[in-house]
Amino acid sequence: MKPDLHTLGPLIALIALIVLGALLNSAFLAPANITNVLARSAFIGMIAVGMTFVITAGGLDLSVGSMAAFLAGIAIIAMNAALPGLGENWGTILIGMGVAILGGIAAGFLNGALITKARIEPFIVTLGTMGIFRSLVTWLADGGTLSLDYGLRTLYRPVYYGGIGWVTWPIIAFALTAFAGEWIMRHSRFGRHVEAIGSNDRVARYSAIDVGRVRLLTYMLLGLLVGLSTVLYVPRLGSASGSTGVLWELEAIAAVIIGGTALKGGRGRVWGTVVGVLILSLIDNILNLADLVSPYLNGAIQGVIIVLAVVLQREKRTADER
C-alpha cells in the first residue's frame, strides 16, 4: 500500500472535513457520533468496495441501490414466511440472510451475464435492471412497505446496533470488507486481472485471461457485497419499500471516483474508495451539525464539497503533458 497523490488527495480532504466538524461542534468527535457515522457508511461502503472492482474492470453498475431494496424485500418476505414454521429465532434470520446473499450473487450474475454474454453496454444493462429491481420491490410491497415481524426485528436488531463496545458490527463488517478488498485488488490474481482488463482488454485476452469470466465475477462480487450490506441494513430499519436505497448507486460510484479510481477503468484503489465513502457520510453529518442558512441549500453545499474534495486529487499533470 504505497500512498500516492490519488489516495493522499482525498485523505487530505477527509482530514479537512474532520477538522471542520470538530470546530463546528464539540460533540462531533464523541464516540457516539463516530460510531453513528461509521456504521451508516457501512452500507454504501461495502457496495462501493464492490463497485471499485466493477469500475476498475471497465464496467459500471447503476442497479445497486434498487438491488439492495429488492434484496431487503425478498429477505423480509422470506423471514416472515419462515416465521410460522421455524419460530422467532436465529434460524429464521439466517434464512433471511441467506436469501439476501444468494439473491445478491444471482442479481450480480444476471447483470454480469447480460454484459459479458449478451454483450450489452453495462450502462444500459444496469439501467434496465435498476428499473426492474425497483419495480419488483414496489410490486412485492404492493406500493407500500414490507415490514419484518416485530419479534424477529427485536432479535435481529443487535446485528446493526450491537458490536464490540463502540465498534458495532457494521463497522467491523465494513472494515473487513475494505481489508479484504484491498488485499484482493493488490495481492490476488483476480485483482491483477481486473486491472489488466480495465486497462486494455485485448492485452488481457492475449494473455490467456478469461476476460468474460473475470468481468462476470466482478459483478457477482458486487452482488454479494450488496447482499451483505442488505443483511446489515434490514435490522436497522426492519423494512423495505420502493424508496429504499434510492440514489445509492450514484453515491457508491461517486465514492469510488473521489477515491481516485478512474471511471474508465484500469486503476483500482480500494483504500481511496473507503476514504471517499467516509467523505460523503461526513458531509451529511456536518450539515446536520451546523445550522445552515436554509436546508434547501444542503444539496448545493454537498455538491461544492464533493467537487472540492476531488480538486485536491486531480492529476497533477506534469508540464510536459499540458
Partner: protein
Amino acid sequence: QDAEKKIIGVSIPSATHGFMGGLNWHAQDSIERLGETYPQLEFVLSTAGDAASQVSDIEDMMATRNIDALVVLPFESEPLTAPVAAVKDAGKFVTVVDRGLSQDGIEDLYVAGDNTAFGRVAGEYFSENLEPGSKVVVLRGIPTTLDNERVEAFQAALEGSEIEILDMEHGNWNRDDAFTVMQDFLSKYPEIDAVWAADDDMAIGVLEAISAAGRSEEMWVIGGAGMKQIVERIMNNDPQLPVNVTYPPALISSAIEMTALNFVSNAPMAGRYIIGSQLITPENAEQFYYPDSPF
C-alpha cells in the same frame, strides 16, 4: 451556558414535491416565529431524502445536538418506528406528525391529517355529483402506504355508485408526470367525465393536458391538499375545479407549536390531534387561502 435552554429537533422529508414543499415552508416559518417569541427555545431542522437518511438525521440530533424534544414526520412508518422509540426511551419528548409509527404509544403527541378521509371525501363528492355510469380516471401519487390508503378509501366511497374507474396510473405527485399520464388517458378514452388527481400538483398538470386536448368542457378535476392557485380558482367558481379536499401542510406548524408549548407553558402537552380532511367549496375557500405559502 443557559441551563434553561431547550432544544427541539424537527425532522421532515425534503421538499421533493409540492405538498412537502409547503410543509417545509410551514416548518421553517414556525421555527422562525417561535424562535423569536421564545428565546429559551432552540430548533434544529433537518430534511431527509429517504427513510435511512432520516434515521441518520435523528441519530445525529441525539448524538451531537442533545435535543430535548423531537418533532418527526416519518418518511415511512416502519423504518422510523424503532429509532423514534429509542429517542423516547432516552427520555425525550416526541411528537409524531402525519404518518403514525407502526407501534402505538411511543409518541407523546400525535398530529396528523387523515388520509382515509382524504380519499373518502373526494370519493363521496364523486358519487354524489356524477351520474351513474359516469367514467373517471385516477392519478395516484408515488407508490407508498399513504397513497394506498387514500386510493382504497376513494374506491370504497365509490362502491355501489355505478361510477366506473377507467384507469389508474402513478403521476408521482409531479406535474410533468401527471401531464404525460393525462395526455395518454385522453388519447386512450374518448369519454371521461371526471378526474381525481389526488394532489394539486398533479391537478395542474392534468388541467393543462385537458385544455390542450380541447376537452375542458367534458370533465372536471378534483385535486387535493389545497394548493393556493387551486383554491384561488375555486374561489372564482371555476367550473372545471368545483371543489378540493384539504390536507393542510400547515399541520407541521401545529405540531411544532404544541411541542414548544410543552416547554414554555406549564400545561404538559399530550394526546392525538387528527386534522380531518375537509371539502373546500367556493363558499368556504377563503378560509383555506394562504397567499404567502409557496404551496
